[in-house]
Symmetry: C2
Subunit: 354 residues, 2 copies
Amino acid sequence: GLAAPAIAQSQPKIQWRCTSSFPKSLDTIYGGAEDLAKYVREATDGNFDIQVFAAGEIVPGLQAADAVTGNTVQMCHTASYYYVGKDPTYALGATVPFGLNARGLNAWLYYGEGIDKLNEFFATQDLVYMPGGNTGTQMGGWFRKEINTVADLNGLKMRIAGLAGQVMEKVGVVPQQIAGGDIYPSLEKGVIDAAEWIGPYDDEKLGFVKVAPYYYYPGWWEGSLALCFFFNQSEFENLPENYKSLLRTASRAANVEMLAEYDYKNPQAIQRLVQSGAQLRPFSQEILQACWNASQEVYAEINGQNAAFKSIYDSMMAFRAETYLWQQIAEYSFDTFMMIKQREGALAMQSGGQ
Amino acid sequence: GLAAPAIAQSQPKIQWRCTSSFPKSLDTIYGGAEDLAKYVREATDGNFDIQVFAAGEIVPGLQAADAVTGNTVQMCHTASYYYVGKDPTYALGATVPFGLNARGLNAWLYYGEGIDKLNEFFATQDLVYMPGGNTGTQMGGWFRKEINTVADLNGLKMRIAGLAGQVMEKVGVVPQQIAGGDIYPSLEKGVIDAAEWIGPYDDEKLGFVKVAPYYYYPGWWEGSLALCFFFNQSEFENLPENYKSLLRTASRAANVEMLAEYDYKNPQAIQRLVQSGAQLRPFSQEILQACWNASQEVYAEINGQNAAFKSIYDSMMAFRAETYLWQQIAEYSFDTFMMIKQREGALAMQSGGQ
């Protein structure tokens, strides 16, 4: 039961700033940092106070990790693949083409030495990495015209970034780097032919359905996307142990929270999008196979010249083979049966005593 | 940066006892309570100290919730469907036949009013409920003989509990309640013909493969299983707000942690089991369909006489229809492609610069 209050040994008052790579309008992904800050603030009676800033308030969204390395801010919330220009190894803390789905990624990160191996690399960048959210499998993006064959990709101007852009280039796409707010006008004017963003809930806000109605899936380059927290290494090391542990706990909590929020909001958003005219289209097996082959070329090139990348990639890919073996059995067969029932219309209105 | 240590306003020294429904030998599922206790202890410099006791140390595993209601202990870690004998509504805090997979369940619990609705019911039991772990889709269990048709189920004596037992009874099975340690000898002697337990990692420890080698999937009665923490309501309400918040955060962290651990360990265990002679068998569509129909009868019976169950069930099932619509699109098509690659043998050894 309750005893008399004790004098705490180590709850120093600390104020930190966290810069997010995202605008507040992307409430689910931006919310990951707000969640962590809230959990930490509440657990410490406000003694450890993290203020979250939206992209652009302190530094632009794509400079968040630099601001942490340089100690402009103590921490950020970002997607580590934004920084593949510094080193492709950054991508492995977020997602890589034909990588792991959300459950596989968490399993590898928390139990398959993922976090530890990533932090060996991130230590060279003066960063400490913790997973901090997941979007689930993303959509493949919005296209102005249907694409059925690899030939249809030839010369296609698509807004797509990072390693996925490199893969797309090998199958004929002309990848474009365009900030979120500029995608819609570029699609509308035909400056680009296609654009990938995130998934139904976020994509809906940008209104792509009106100008590029063919909505392809899956986003094979983001079988799941891990968001992350980066902490400045010396700032983190200077924290008392209780605060370090609390950050680890709160980042796990923020991780499950974001995925649950996307998984709750996306089903409603996809239905609204279809009602608004979105034409759902699966990528053809021909296209998926060509992109798979291209991704193997990209990986071989990077692995041949980047030992840090190869070490982490090998670990992730060894687990990839195992998780997709096991997931076929119980999970996939259960999901398949439930999806058959969904298509039969049997899942609606089961509640009554009828 | 770091400022001078402040006097904490509210970190009282508290010692709690948590009784687990599980033995220490089931390290992953038992570990959920240890994880939460560790997170809380570390974040409070040991001021909030939760001691975890294995099943049987204070009360038997299936009396954990009663021990919390009666305030023998302040909290427990359990699967709420163990208590369907008191009220079938308890099942909805764990899993129900043909219910939600792990991602769907988390989405409904955290965002689809699941936790709030469950706590309206659990308040009547003097309990506060928080999700605290997930096993993923379980296996359908170990059978001494192959079963292909509904006729093969007739008279089959199977160790299976709760609502799933009621469903199985409608398709001819004779459900048996047998504690974990007694399952193996019962199978060996032929006292029972089949037994379900959890999944590869846990099932391997009990050695079922030697006496009942046909390993069926999926466990349609546990598309995922949420473990939970129950807190004695008045003990919880008496906590300072910072400790309440920390318990909510730590339970989220324990949730993601357990699922990641199962998802990491099961792939290796299923391979060892197959090497030891396990014969993997999917339930036939005929059997799944018959069990689906039987489950609808069971739900209709309960909904007709239990308003608390119906209210929560309706909420869960409304979301079930939505989540299995959305999951078909990006997630399922991505997973399917990756599983095709797994079957082709293309996922192994992708790392080299070859």
